[in-house]
Symmetry: C2
């Protein structure tokens, strides 16, 4: 056990999963939860996975914690950090789970104290559901967690790495800048595109919603999962990772324009070449244990 007392601030899907996992895998004595929402606190109390629940900033909890994990939307991260840092005990570790790291570091760094350790983090795990009921202890099993510490050799980094590994994740350490570009590609732009396509289909006046629903098994339904993710969180992600998102989106639009052109000019060879090269990456993702190999994601089983 690397941390005696853990405080989770913001108890949605990720926060509640961390709290549950910390207990389930015996990674702390005490798990405390703070959330600004009364109804979230009530639900957490009812679910019973935390040793203590407080509405608001919970400075008394912050003073006890060896590890504080900020699990609030990216747009609230700096405000919450500014409230909690003055209450932290000396030698404690602060981390977060935000989907972008550059902006978080930029805003939190000026608020830090010499005697605490801040290690930005991002577990690449989730579902399209949110709220404390949606969390589960196994969410991080066989997933990756990225840490972007300024000093990768500090002992607190090893301790936090050990924690993530104990609850099931592999840990990758990289710079915040690299994280934000890689995640723009593998997460942020895919979400933006899914949100866009689902919106386009829903807005097509010539095609009714009824038809979109009926015939969604033709491919459309695959996009609706991530387009059902938490809108507030994703608004914050795009605003905070603006430059990398726009760069990857522009490449995507270039590539889509090239395929459009191939369709317009009936260049079947170009289409076939493009469609053939995308198959092996799925096989690699399956082989890496990041995806099921069951047809249709196994959703019909």
């Amino acid at each position: 056990m690397t941390f005696d007392t853990i405080l989770v601030v913001g108890c949605g899907l990720i926060g509640s999963s961390i709290a549950r996992a910390a207990k389930t895998y015996g990674q702390c004595q005490t798990v405390l939860v703070a959330d600004k929402s009364e109804s979230v606190c009530k639900t957490v109390a009812k679910l019973g996975f935390a040793d203590g629940v407080a509405e608001g900033m919970a400075h008394h909890f912050a003073a006890q914690a060896d590890l504080i994990v900020l699990c609030v939307p990216p747009g609230r991260m700096a405000e919450v950090a500014g409230e909690i840092i003055p209450a932290m005990k000396a030698g404690a570790t602060l981390t977060d789970v935000g989907s972008i790291k550059g902006r978080v570091i930029e805003t939190i760094t000026p608020l830090l104290r010499e005697d605490i350790h801040f290690i930005p983090g991002h577990p690449i795990a989730g579902t399209e559901f949110n709220g404390p009921e949606a969390g589960f202890a196994e969410l991080f099993q066989h997933r990756w967690c990225v840490l972007t510490p300024t000093d990768p050799d500090h002992p607190s980094v090893a301790a936090l790495k050990e924690f993530w590994e104990a609850i099931g994740s592999a840990v990758a350490i990289m710079t915040a800048e690299r994280h934000d570009l890689v995640l723009a590609t593998t997460s942020h732009v895919p979400h933006l595109i899914a949100y866009t396509l689902v919106g386009t289909a829903v807005d097509m006046e010539e095609v009714t919603r009824n038809e979109v629903v009926k015939f969604s098994a033709g491919g459309f339904r695959d996009f609706t999962r991530i387009a059902a993710s938490d809108p507030v969180m994703w608004r914050d992600v795009f605003l905070a990772n603006r430059d990398a998102t726009l760069e990857v989106v522009d490449r995507f639009i270039e590539d889509l324009s090239a395929l459009k052109r191939a369709i317009r000019w009936e260049d079947g060879d170009a289409l076939l070449e493009h469609f053939s090269k995308t198959r092996d990456i799925r096989r690699k993702i399956i082989d890496a244990g990041q995806e099921t190999d069951a047809p249709n994601f196994g959703r019909e089983d």
Copy 2:
């Protein structure tokens, strides 16, 4: 039982699923299969779901069949129809399962005989796998099948409808033009976008393939399923449904440009509004029995 003898021409995922379903649900006495590929024919013979297998056009099978189902890629449909129609027995029904209907009708109509019935069809079902081993009898359960007959009141339409319903599908009847626009929205453009995004990510020199694989659970992996679909079939679909595809892609690009602009100008309200409206369509798809409500498509179960 509406058809005594059924001939499936082209025995991939869809063809082999129809052959299996026809037997499993007792919808024919005899199922015959023809495929141009020797290895497919050998596999079908080994799997044992057909009463007869022939390599090539199988005119002797065509002469026996009450229903012939063309399950070849859209680009080969006319050629195969041209070969098979002269061998058909009088009064028999010809249908197909192609993902586009306008082009198929355009090319097959001049080849038809007065004494056979042609009913274009399209079952909205599939997986990312192909070949005769990938098929299964339950593929069409709770899915929709679209028929686009020129004469919806002809008794052969009722018989074919009954067949699809008996193997588990609901049947929708519409014009070919409407089908092609609706499916461009719910199937063709989603595939094109998935193929594009997966290609863009794989081509990003600044991001390694290794990173794309590792961090794919952030959203990217959802796109890789349909981007692993049969490249030949999809090349043919886009060439055959060119105009509707380009129309829907252009709308998608317009919408994506609007979201890009909102990100560039940090218009959080516009993003939040857009991201909030796409959630309810997934709920409707789940309620309509076209999707699982398990988190992450239930893939981790």
